[in-house]
Symmetry: C2
């Protein structure tokens, strides 16, 4: 019955609704030419409407030529239903600019070997969802709904959900960062924070000074914006002072981008002295610092390390990007930028021009979660959990892998520099055949330097898989060494 | 008690936790130099820990110089708590690029007269939250949590939440848009969709052809990207064909940007014939079309209008940006781009580089809401509601305002061209003093053309306020006319 999908409303005359429905059916192709319509009596009975309405509709449709009544035979569709289309094709590929091309070409989710069911993957550094305290989150979600209701559903503010902003001010104060002359903008995670800063401050050709290696997303986005990334080498305590000084003689960077508390991919934590030293050097050279507070929350060090942003006191030379995505709930897209009040005012307008604001449902639920104290309990739990995973993977790495050095105590990953310039790409090819995946180190360099290094994320890998996976990696290293004529022993 | 904020954990030795806590207190300034610490006995009792742990902590701190025990007097803080800061200031203003400056300068939330409590504001075109069916949404939120739980909290996919994508394919099919060779990307509302498309396809200096006037956000973002916006005039049925043809003789646009179903600010709905005509002209000139499906859902017209995207069939020449933000739940940031599969593949990578993905909690709750059928019921309701508001405001406008023309049947706003070149800016100044706000038309033009027009959003204004507000606007128009020596009568 063609009318089974028609729902009569109260606002328009019924005969118009019938007409519309039939014309719609013809256009969509549901009513073919020459097919028979039900009689006016049948329709009126089926839809419980007056027969006159149906008669009016049929008359109008007939006068417009859509249907035809044949005496004694019934009413039939009189026109072709096929929709007229005017196909129009564009070669979009030719229209994509450099920015779009770089982001496509450097999208490692598309270009790197893909995970298949049953594989052991050390690629991810996302947190293990099994550890999320779901009941706590559900309660926070309910609290948020109860208190805010419709306010979560209508437009919010580009700057963010005020209770969350206030909470983060306090959170940052506990890290030693002064609120004076500062403001906070909520973003869709670190990625949007970094993106907005680069979009608003840089121009193609600008030099950005970074740790080498640094996180892949940042490298990709900087390249897409046409920026020149200049890396400064690291030792186990952070950026090498001598190298930094030399670099600053050669370049005048627009900005420095640093991950002092948990460099990705190396896991290197810049110690307190080094922080001060490099901070002072940047200050001397008037290079503003973009600090990625990445995974400070997972630090095990005995004395709390202050972010670079804390060193500046009331000063505004450091812009801090915070995110808990690698610790907690990455699916909620929440991060923040804390920096100079006037700068945040500009970035707020930029945010408004790009995404209007971040989800208020996310922000509010997240706030009630943090406020409940659940986060503090959660952090305690996961530190213990990741610590024991770390101990296991290090035991296996020491047993099976010939390395020059390993960095990344604690956290969610370790970074390994292999001995004998073994290519981590060749290693990945072999391992992939054996069902094991990891991140080849070259992804974190914008030159050829990372070729014999790899990052192993272990947060979401089971203990058994860690044991099996590392052994497979170790065996394939041996294979490669034999191929290349190297001899080697663990512990060399 | 300094230890009231200390929570002992199970992972680290207790004396280390005590040490850290005291050092932290000193650094933060909570423990001033020469202030007295509680005795080891008091601490052990208070925290229910062994006294030996406290003694060890105090001994270590004393050996490091942080505290000093004076025999018979107690233990005292021995160092200055003031944190050493190295203030560092940057003139961020000088670092902001053109893009950031345009978005700051054109941020109408900051530059336009601000709403104050008690005012009557016709500025907003956001939906009236009172009409949201909150119980339906709450149920959807709960359903979404029940089915997805942890999946909403860990990383999702840049393209979006698959059930929502599938739902939107079907939703677009009902609008007549073919899914063949197409794909969908979920974005943070229309704004991010438009932003991602421009960022990926255009270069400074490119010509974008638009309706004149067009929505302020689009104008602002296009200017920020350094694009040349060329407007084509409209009559009551949409873009004027002759003007379009002339413009295409003068320019070779990179893209056309159109809001055919509910132009913002005019509310003009491009009719079926006009759609086909202008579509064919763009196709002839190989100008790809970005179609903003804005508020199609509110259309009252008797026969359903197909989006331009439907005219192309399997073709890819039209990219459609959808959003329900002006109809439903703008606080959930959800929109979508539907277009050529290969183009969406690129835009997906761009999205990943900018915000990783949109909130999965938003997307999933929204999906369960749509799926439940609540949306269909809601739309029926609000059409009736806005229709009666529209009738009221038109009655008042006809009574009080001398206009050349009014456009925007139905919808959430009307657009008025005043007689006698009355300046809507001068009018706004007078009205603001009387507590009435509206959007001056110049915000929707990138030239001086809009100076005697204004947009009145009425969706969130009470009936009483509509009556009072329009009368005030009318009186101020009369004042301005007298000042300028015009005579006029309503209905001239």
């Amino acid at each position: 019955m063609i009318f089974s999908t028609l729902k009569i409303n109260d606002s328009d005359p019924i005969y118009i609704q019938l007409e519309r429905h039939i014309i719609g059916g013809i256009k969509k192709g549901d009513l073919k030419k020459d097919s028979k319509l039900p009689s006016t009596r049948e329709v009126s009975k089926y839809l419980k409407i007056s027969r006159n309405s149906v008669i009016s509709a049929y008359e109008n449709l007939e006068s417009k030529g859509y249907i035809l009544t044949k005496r004694g035979k019934g009413t039939f569709i009189a026109v072709e239903g096929e929709k007229q289309v005017y196909e129009y094709n564009v070669e979009w590929d030719n229209l994509v600019n450099k920015y779009g091309k770089v982001l496509r070409d450097k999208d490692i989710i598309k270009s790197e070997p893909k995970f298949r069911r049953g594989m052991i993957s050390f690629k991810s550094i996302a947190p293990e969802g099994e550890l999320f305290n779901l009941e706590d989150f559900k309660r926070a979600l309910m609290d948020s709904w109860t208190y805010e209701e419709v306010h979560l559903l209508n437009y919010g503010y580009a700057k963010g959900y005020q209770p969350l902003i206030d909470y983060l001010f306090e959170y940052m104060r506990e890290k030693g960062v002064s609120k004076e002359n500062k403001d906070i903008l909520i973003t869709n995670g670190f990625t949007e924070g970094f993106d907005i800063i680069l979009a608003s401050l840089t121009s193609p050709g600008d030099v950005i000074l970074c740790e080498e290696p640094t996180n892949n997303t940042a490298l990709k986005v900087m390249e897409a914006y046409g920026l020149k990334v200049v890396g400064v080498s690291m030792d186990k305590d952070g950026m090498v002072i001598e190298d930094l000084k030399k670099t600053l003689q050669l370049y005048t960077p627009k900005l420095a981008y640093l991950i002092p508390s948990y460099n990705n991919p190396t896991g290197i934590v810049m110690n307190s002295e080094r922080r001060k030293e490099i901070y002072k050097i940047f200050r001397e050279h008037s290079v503003p610092i973009i600090e990625n507070g990445f995974n400070e929350e997972l630090l095990y060090s005995s004395s709390p390390l202050e972010p670079l942003a804390a060193l500046s006191g009331r000063g505004n030379g450091v812009v801090y990007i915070g995110s808990l995505s690698k610790v907690l709930f990455p699916g909620l897209r929440i991060g923040w930028i804390m920096g100079d009040k006037k700068l945040i005012d500009i970035l707020e307008s930029v945010k408004r021009g790009r995404t209007i604001h971040s989800s208020f449902l996310d922000q509010s639920a997240f706030y009630y979660y943090l406020k409940s104290g659940a986060f503090t309990r959660y952090i305690k739990n996961i530190r213990k959990y990741y610590r024991s995973k770390y101990n296991l993977i290090m035991e296996m790495v020491n047993k099976h892998i010939l390395y020059e050095y390993v960095t990344g105590e604690g956290g969610l990953y370790v970074f390994i520099k292999l001995k004998n310039n073994i290519s981590s790409r060749e290693l990945l090819n072999l391992c992939y055949e054996d069902g094991v995946l990891f991140m080849p180190g070259d992804l974190f360099y914008n030159n050829a330097k990372g070729e014999s290094s790899l990052r192993l994320g272990f947060g979401r890998v089971s203990d058994d898989d860690i044991r099996i996976g590392i052994e497979i990696i170790g065996k394939n290293i041996e294979r490669l060494m034999k191929q290349k004529g190297y001899e080697g022993e663990l512990g060399d």
